[in-house]
C-alpha cells in the first residue's frame, strides 16, 4: 500500500498536457522521489539482515584497509625520523651556541649548512657545499680580472648572479654558469620548506629573498667585499659599502641597486622601527648567527610544531639580536601555541573572559607581553591589500621575466 501520509493520488483521466511546473506536478514528482528513496532503504535493510554484502562495498573496504596500513606506516616512519632528526637539531643548536659564545670560530657557511642539514636529516655534504661556494668565488675572481678593488669584485659577483658566465679554458668554453633567478612558486616556503634553502638555490638555480642574500653574503665574504644582510618586513636584502664608505642597498631578487625609500614605501616600515634598528640596519656576524638560530627553529617547527626547542632558540636569538623581528614573532607564536590547549579545555572563552580565568591568566599575560614586545620594535601587521599589491607587483615581474625568456627563445628563430 502506498503511504497515505503523502496524500492519496486523485484518479487521473485524460488531461490537458501541462508544463510540469504546476504545484500539483511538483508534488507528484516529490512523492515519486521520496517513494523511490524509501524503497531503496528497505531493500538495503533487507540485504543487511540477510547478511549478503554488496560487491561495491568490498572495494571500499579494501581501500579502507590500504589507507589504514599507509597511516600506520607513516606513523612508524615519523617516529623513526623524529628519533633520528631531533638529535640532529640539538647538535645544530649546540654548534650555533658555540659559535655565538666564541668557543668555535664563527663561520656563516657552516651555520647555514647545519641549519639546512638538520631539515634534510643529515643527507647533505658540507664538503660539497664548501666546494660549490669556492668554485663560485673563483669564477668571480676571474671575472674581476686584474682589478682587486672591492667594488670590482662586487660587480663581478653581481654579474655572476645576474648574467650568464662562460668559463673558458685555453680558448674553449668549458662550462656555462646561468644566472640565479627568483623562484615565484611558493616563495614563502609554505608548501615546500626547501625553497628557503641555499642548497636548493645552488642545486636548482633559483631562490628567494631568504636564500639569495645568504648566498651573496657568503660569496662576498670569500671575496673580501664588505657586505651586510639587511632586514625589511617579510624580506631580506644586501647592503654594500663602496671604497669611500658610502652604503648602497642591493636587491638580490632582481639584481638592482635600490634605496631606503624603496623598502620603506613597499615594505611597510615606520620611523619607530628605523630608530630601533629593526629594519634596514646592517647586521653583524653575531646577529646573522642569531637569524640562523631562528631559521633552525622555523624548520623544526615545520616538522614538530611549537615546543621547548623552538622557545630555546627564540630566547637565545633574542639575547644576541634583541631588536630582531623574527625572534620576537617566534616567541609570540610559542606563547600562542602554549595557550591553545588550556583555552580549549576551558571551553574557548572570549579574550575578556579568558583574562579573568585563573588557569588562563598566565598564558594571556605571556601573549600580551609578546604583543607589546612586537609593537615596541615597530611590528605592523602588513594589511592584506598592501601585501596583495606587493604580490601583484611580483606577478607583473614574473610575467615580464616569462616574456623575456619567450622573446629570447623566439629571437633566433625569427632571425632565420
Amino acid at each position: 500500500m502506498p503511504n497515505t501520509d503523502l496524500g492519496v493520488p486523485k484518479p487521473q483521466g485524460p488531461r490537458i498536457p501541462t508544463p510540469g511546473s504546476l504545484p500539483q506536478d511538483q508534488q507528484a514528482r516529490t512523492r515519486a522521489q521520496t517513494q523511490a528513496a524509501m524503497d531503496e532503504v528497505e531493500r538495503y535493510n533487507a540485504q543487511q539482515a540477510a547478511g549478503r554484502s554488496d560487491h561495491s562495498l568490498s572495494g571500499v573496504q579494501a581501500d579502507i584497509d590500504q589507507f589504514e596500513r599507509g597511516r600506520r606506516e607513516q606513523a612508524e616512519f615519523n617516529t623513526q625520523f623524529e628519533a633520528r632528526n631531533k638529535p640532529q637539531y640539538e647538535a645544530a643548536y649546540r654548534v650555533l651556541v658555540e659559535m655565538l659564545d666564541g668557543r668555535r670560530p664563527a663561520s656563516l657557511p657552516l651555520a647555514v649548512f647545519v641549519v639546512e642539514n638538520s631539515y634534510a636529516a643529515g643527507e647533505l655534504s658540507y664538503a660539497a657545499f664548501k666546494a660549490e661556494l669556492d668554485e663560485l668565488a673563483t669564477i668571480c675572481r676571474g671575472l674581476a680580472g686584474t682589478d682587486t678593488s672591492p667594488t670590482a669584485r662586487f660587480m663581478a659577483l653581481h654579474r655572476l648572479m645576474t648574467d650568464t658566465v662562460q668559463v673558458s679554458d685555453a680558448g674553449k668554453v668549458v662550462s656555462k654558469h646561468l644566472p640565479y633567478r627568483y623562484d615565484f612558486e611558493d616563495f614563502r616556503g609554505e608548501q615546500d620548506y626547501h625553497k628557503m634553502f641555499v642548497t636548493k638555490l645552488l642545486r636548482s638555480g633559483s631562490g628567494q629573498c631568504h636564500s639569495l642574500p645568504l648566498l651573496y653574503k657568503m660569496l662576498a665574504d670569500r671575496l673580501g667585499v664588505k657586505t651586510y644582510i639587511s632586514m625589511a618586513p617579510n624580506h631580506t636584502f644586501i647592503s654594500v659599502k663602496d671604497g669611500r664608505g658610502a652604503l648602497y642597498r642591493y636587491e638580490t631578487t632582481n639584481g638592482h641597486f635600490t634605496t631606503d625609500a624603496f623598502y620603506m614605501s613597499s615594505g611597510y616600515i615606520k620611523a619607530g622601527a628605523l630608530k630601533q634598528r629593526t629594519y634596514l640596519d646592517t647586521l653583524t656576524l653575531r646577529e646573522n648567527l642569531a637569524c640562523q638560530l631562528v631559521d633552525l627553529a622555523n624548520g623544526y617547527e615545520h616538522y614538530y610544531g611549537y615546543d621547548e626547542f623552538v622557545k630555546k632558540c627564540a630566547d637565545l636569538a633574542l639575547i644576541y639580536y634583541p631588536q630582531g623581528m623574527q625572534a620576537r614573532i617566534l616567541a609570540h607564536n610559542v606563547a600562542l601555541a602554549r595557550f591553545v590547549k588550556p583555552w580549549k579545555k576551558a571551553g574557548q572563552p572570549a579574550p575578556e573572559v579568558a583574562r579573568t580565568l585563573p588557569q588562563l591568566k598566565p598564558y594571556m599575560t605571556e601573549i600580551e607581553r609578546w604583543d607589546r614586545a612586537l609593537a615596541a620594535v615597530g611590528f605592523e601587521e602588513m594589511p592584506k591589500d598592501q601585501y596583495d599589491r606587493w604580490l601583484n607587483a611580483l606577478e607583473q615581474e614574473k610575467a615580464r621575466q616569462a616574456s623575456q625568456r619567450a622573446a629570447a627563445r623566439f629571437a633566433p628563430t625569427a632571425a632565420k
Binding site: D260, A261, M264, S265, K270, A271, K275, R277, E380
Partner: protein, 393 residues
C-alpha cells in the same frame, strides 16, 4: 579667628619679599585662566570671542650696531626676559608645563606684551568647544569602531574643524584654517609664524598650524604629538587600526613615513639619532617655544645685539632637549658670527673651538643641509602647488 597663624604668615611673606631680589617680576599664569584640559566642570556655552581687529602694532626694528646697549636693555628686561624666566621655570618643573601659555609668551614678547592672555585663551577654548560639539554631533556617523574610538574621534573633530568650514547656525560659519603660501617661512615678516596671526587671518604655515592643533588637542584631551622634519613641523598620532600615522596640516593629508623621508630630505641616520620624525614630549614642546623666542628676538634687534640672549636661550634649550637640531643650528650660527667678530687671538681660538664643537655635533647627528638646487626645486613645487589652490576667477 580665620587665620590661626596670622603672625607666622605675615613673617613668611616678609621673608619671601626680602628673598626676591630680582628687579623683574616673573609672571605666572592666572589661576582663573588655567582651564582644565578635559571637559570643564561648569558647562559654559560657547560665546563668540571678540577677535582683535588687527595685530597689535608693528614692531620697531632696532638698527645695529650704532645703538647703545641702554636703549636695547628696556626691551629685553621688560618683554623678553620675563618670558624667558617663565619658560625656564616651566622647564625646571617649578611651573606646570603648559604649551598654550608657552606659545603665548613667545608671541606676546614680540608684540611688546600688548596681547591679552585672557583673549588668547578664550579663543582657544572657543575653538575647543566647537571641536567637542563637532565630535558629539558626528558620533552616529563615525566609522572607526575599535576600543580607542574616543581618542580617534577627538582627533578627528579637531582635524575636521581645522580643515573644513564649520556651520554653527544659520548665517554663522567658522572658516577653515589654510596654508599661507605668501612668505611661508617668515623670512620677511616673522609674525607669519605666530598662532595669533593664524587665529586672526585663518592662514598659517607649517609652524603655526600644528601648534594650534596641539593646543586644541591639549584642551580637548586628544592624544597627539608634535614631530620634526627639516624646516617643518607635523603631527604624529597612534591608533589600533593603523598604528603610528602622520598628519600633515598644510595639505590636510596623512602621508606615510616613506613619503616624508623621500620628499623631506630625511636620512636614516637622522631618524636613528632622533633629530627628526620622533614624537616630542611636553617639555620638548616648551623648548620649541624657547627657541622661537630666541629667534623672534634675533629678528627684532639683529643677530649682533641679540647674541647674549640667544646664547642663553640655546644653552637652556639644549639642556632639556640636547638633540634639538634647530637649537643646535642657532647656537652654531651664533658662535660663528661671534667668531667672525673676534679681534684678539686667544678669545678667537676659544670661540673657534666652541663653534667647531657645535658644528661637529650637528654633523654627527646626520644632519645635512639641503642642496641649494633641491631647495629651489622644492620652492618651485610650493609655488606650483599654490597655483593648484588659488581660486580661478
Amino acid at each position: 579667628m580665620k587665620h590661626h597663624y596670622l603672625l607666622l604668615w605675615c613673617l613668611a611673606l616678609l621673608l619671601l619679599g626680602v628673598g626676591c631680589s630680582r628687579r623683574v617680576l616673573v609672571p605666572v599664569e592666572p589661576l582663573a585662566l588655567r582651564i582644565p584640559a578635559y571637559y570643564p566642570s561648569s558647562a559654559k556655552s560657547w560665546q563668540a570671542a571678540p577677535l582683535p581687529e588687527q595685530l597689535a602694532g608693528v614692531p620697531i626694528r632696532v638698527i645695529v650696531p650704532a645703538v647703545p646697549a641702554l636703549l636695547v636693555a628696556p626691551m629685553v628686561a621688560n618683554f623678553y626676559e620675563p618670558a624667558y624666566q617663565e619658560l625656564a621655570k616651566m622647564l625646571d618643573g617649578r611651573y606646570p608645563l603648559n604649551f598654550k601659555r608657552a606659545v603665548f609668551l613667545t608671541e606676546n614678547a614680540y608684540f611688546d606684551n600688548r596681547l591679552s592672555y585672557e583673549e588668547f585663551s578664550q579663543q582657544i577654548s572657543g575653538l575647543a568647544a566647537v571641536c567637542r560639539l563637532l565630535k558629539k554631533t558626528n558620533e552616529p556617523y563615525f566609522l572607526y569602531n575599535r576600543d580607542d574610538k574616543e581618542n580617534v574621534a577627538r582627533n578627528a573633530a579637531i582635524f575636521l574643524m581645522m580643515k573644513d568650514s564649520t556651520r554653527l547656525r544659520k548665517g554663522a560659519t567658522l572658516p577653515p584654517f589654510r596654508y599661507d603660501f605668501e612668505d611661508f617661512d617668515g623670512d620677511d615678516d616673522w609674525r607669519k609664524m605666530f598662532v595669533s596671526k593664524l587665529l586672526v587671518t585663518r592662514k598659517g604655515n607649517c609652524h603655526s598650524l600644528p601648534y594650534l592643533y596641539k593646543m586644541l588637542a591639549d584642551e580637548t584631551g586628544a592624544q597627539t604629538w608634535l614631530s620634526l622634519a627639516p624646516n617643518h613641523i607635523y603631527l604624529k598620532q597612534h591608533n589600533r587600526k593603523d598604528g603610528w600615522y602622520n598628519t600633515e596640516l598644510t595639505s590636510y593629508t596623512f602621508p606615510v613615513d616613506a613619503w616624508l623621508t623621500a620628499s623631506g630630505y630625511i636620512s636614516r641616520e637622522t631618524i636613528i639619532s632622533g633629530i627628526y620624525m620622533d614624537t616630542l614630549s611636553a617639555k620638548q614642546n616648551v623648548v620649541l617655544c624657547l627657541v622661537d623666542l630666541a629667534k623672534g628676538y634675533e629678528r627684532r634687534v639683529g643677530p649682533v645685539v641679540a647674541e647674549p640672549f640667544v646664547s642663553k636661550c640655546t644653552n637652556l634649550a639644549l639642556r632639556y632637549f640636547p638633540h634639538y637640531i634647530n637649537a643646535q643650528l642657532l647656537q652654531a650660527e651664533t658662535l660663528r658670527r661671534k667668531f667672525e667678530r673676534q679681534t684678539s687671538k686667544p678669545e678667537a681660538q676659544q670661540v673657534y673651538a666652541a663653534m667647531e664643537a657645535a658644528y661637529t655635533r650637528i654633523f654627527e647627528t646626520g644632519y645635512r643641509e639641503m642642496p641649494p638646487q633641491m631647495y629651489a626645486d622644492w620652492l618651485q613645487s610650493v609655488k606650483t602647488e599654490k597655483q593648484k589652490y588659488q581660486k580661478k576667477p
